[in-house]
């Protein structure tokens, strides 16, 4: 399923979809497509070893929350293929990146474009904050900071079962403010969980703005190393740097890749919204129109006709 297109092309495709979606909906998690486009493209297009999807290309509607009376319940993990021993697993820890993750699934041919049209629609499984039952998701991560622990537990279990597949966690930098993240790294290092991999979108942003203005976190790389992980810091828009980073030897330790990113990469006009980039809702029709034209040009597409 991979390599029909370059990862850079997939990243561009992701951004085009998220852009179009945000224009039509008068807002969206647009900046996360800027920062994380390459990371998710790289994971799905190159790095993850995944089987063919086991769920329909057009997502089924929401079918109920887990409960003893809902025996047919299943998560959205089937979009990543089966949970077989040889395959990798991926958690999107900051669940608000779901829009970008869905766009990625489409770009790599794991979900039909119609899936994105169901985004945040009542009765749809394609939820705004990625839910367990949303395409590509396997657990609920809307409460930030729990994802790495889950990944560590799964990876430890798989290691015990001698499964060759790796467990990956896509993280956000906001998560390092949560104490649990540090507990997770500490435990993963202590138990030698080296089949655990994380890549973190270090965009220096959180809901209230620049992280340094909300709660300074300092040098994340040194922190992760001090807590026992192997950690490599790269330019998060440089795909080759990702390829190199994952080759870092980390026996007995989880590997965490810090992808330093620009929250308006490829969409420079978004800088106007700095430092409030977490969710971009257009403040006026004028702004919407200007951004439409500007970003469309940047991404090499026609402006979106959102009037209808």
């Amino acid at each position: 399923m991979r390599n029909e297109r370059t990862t850079e092309e997939v990243a561009l495709g992701i951004r085009r979809r998220v852009f179009e979606h945000s224009m039509r909906n008068n807002g969206g998690y647009l900046s996360q497509a800027c920062s994380a486009g390459e990371q998710l493209a790289w994971l799905y297009n190159e790095e993850l070893k995944l089987g063919a999807p086991t769920l329909p290309m057009i997502p089924k509607p929401f079918e109920g929350v887990p409960s003893p009376s809902n025996p047919d319940y299943h998560t959205g993990a089937g979009y990543n293929g089966p949970a077989a021993p040889e395959f990798d697993r991926l958690f999107i820890a900051p669940a608000h990146y779901a829009l970008v993750a869905y766009a990625t699934l489409i770009e790599v041919g794991r979900m039909a474009p119609e899936g994105l049209e169901m985004f945040n629609k009542d009765g749809s499984s394609v939820e705004m904050i990625g839910a367990e039952h949303s395409p590509g998701m396997e657990v609920h991560n809307g409460t930030l900071g729990i994802g790495l622990s889950t990944g560590a537990g799964l990876a430890y279990g798989r290691k015990r079962r001698n499964e060759p597949g790796r467990t990956w966690v896509f993280m956000s930098d906001g998560e390092v403010q949560e104490g649990q993240t540090w507990e997770a790294v500490q435990a993963a290092a202590f138990h030698g969980i080296d089949n655990l991999y994380a890549i973190m979108d270090v965009n220096d942003q959180q809901c209230d703005g620049a992280m340094s203005s909300v709660m300074e976190v300092g040098d994340i790389k040194t922190k992760f190393r001090n807590f026992g992980a192997a950690c490599v810091e790269i330019d998060g828009h440089d795909v080759q740097a990702m390829r190199d980073a994952v080759a870092e030897s980390h026996e007995g330790r989880p590997l965490i890749i810090l992808a330093r990113t620009n929250p308006f990469h490829t969409m420079p006009i978004l800088e106007e919204r700095f430092p409030r980039l977490h969710y971009v809702r257009f403040k006026s029709e004028d702004e919407r129109a200007r951004m439409n034209v500007s970003i469309a040009a940047d991404l090499g597409v026609e402006p979106v006709d959102y009037s209808h």
Binding site: V65, D122, E127, I129, A131, H133, G142, G174, D208
Partner: protein
């Protein structure tokens, strides 16, 4: 048509807190989502950003309480008791610190799904000694929540509505009281929060069906005046029905059940709410319909209680308000 008030909390908090040196505005990286971005910008000296680290925030607030401050903590309700429950217990509730816990997006008022929906907070808070629980059901209550909360000598859990909020009442919250919205004698309906508006929507249709409803709205859930409730229960013939934006275990329904059983009241109670289930993401109206928290669910519950069918349909209920998902009064995203 009901008056819609835009961002009542933003204005009310600023009016109440600004310039009071003992009140601090704490926030956990959801400042604009909790409508205190204007306050932050205009009163930076009273604003304290604690980042996305709720555990520390709660114990820190306990320390501020010890220093004589009355912190108003702002975040989504769910992030104020699940992540930092231990801290809420040990650093705030036990020592009765005057911390005002402003929990936004109660129950299904958020499309964020299970991680964002505080569906069992009232149950949790009810079993915490020393806790006071207030819940807002309209703009007037939101406007008076700061003053009400700050009148309490101890911690206060508040379920706060944000964005565009209907005005249903014209008097502020009086802590410890309950609102008698109609005084019928067939059935007692007890609601709180956003469910009160639902019950009001059903009112005229039920009246047309010949049913005399006594309707109570609770803004104070703990401490609770069970004597007043028992008097109301005594005034109706058929039984009691509760409707809440919360699971049916441990919340207002259970509070009413305890009151009835303790007194040996031989009337039936029907507890409506999330029936021991999580919810998913979606618009409020959709979720209220899906999980049976709306006016229609109340009507069905009343049919069950009375054993009658009223043939009331959606069309007979007063028009549901349709919220514009992208209205500007809504804070960014979540």
């Amino acid at each position: 048509m009901v008056e819609m008030v835009s961002r009542p909390y933003a204005k009310a908090f600023e009016a109440f807190a600004a310039g009071n040196p003992d009140i601090l505005c704490l926030s956990a990286d959801l400042t604009s989502s909790c409508e205190v971005d204007g306050f932050r910008d205009r009163h930076p000296d009273q604003f304290l950003s604690l980042g996305m680290a709720e555990q520390n925030m709660m114990s820190f607030a306990g320390g501020l309480g010890l220093a004589g401050y009355r912190p108003f903590i702002h975040t989504f309700g769910v992030f104020m008791y699940r992540r930092p429950y231990d801290q809420l217990m040990a650093s705030i509730a036990y020592p009765r610190r005057k911390v005002r816990l402003m929990g936004f997006l109660p129950g299904v008022t958020t499309p964020g799904g299970m991680t964002h929906q505080s569906i069992e907070d009232i149950s949790v808070m009810r079993s915490i000694p020393n806790m006071t629980i207030l819940e807002t059901g309209d703009a007037t209550e939101v406007e008076s929540i700061c003053e009400a909360a700050d009148s309490i000598d101890g911690p206060v859990w508040c379920r706060v509505l944000r964005g565009s909020v209907p005005r249903l009442f014209d008097t502020p919250i009086k802590v410890g009281e309950m609102r008698e919205l109609s005084s019928g004698d067939d059935i007692l309906v007890v609601t709180s929060g956003i469910c009160t508006e639902e019950a009001m929507r059903a009112r005229s249709a039920l009246a047309k069906a010949g049913l005399s409803i006594r309707h109570l709205h609770l803004h104070t859930i703990k401490p609770f005046d069970s004597k007043a409730l028992l008097d109301h229960i005594g005034s109706v013939k058929h039984g009691v029905i509760t409707l809440e934006n919360h699971v049916t275990e441990g919340g207002v329904g259970s509070l009413v059940a305890e009151t009835m059983a303790d007194a040996g009241v031989g009337k039936r109670l029907i507890r409506l709410g999330l029936k021991d289930t999580y919810a998913h993401g979606g618009s409020r109206a959709y979720l209220m319909r899906y999980y049976g928290l709306d006016a229609l669910a109340l009507v069905k519950g009343i049919e069950d209680l009375t054993g009658q069918q009223f043939g009331i349909t959606e069309d007979d209920l007063d028009a549901a308000r349709v919220e514009d998902v992208h209205s500007l009064v809504k804070a960014e995203a979540l």
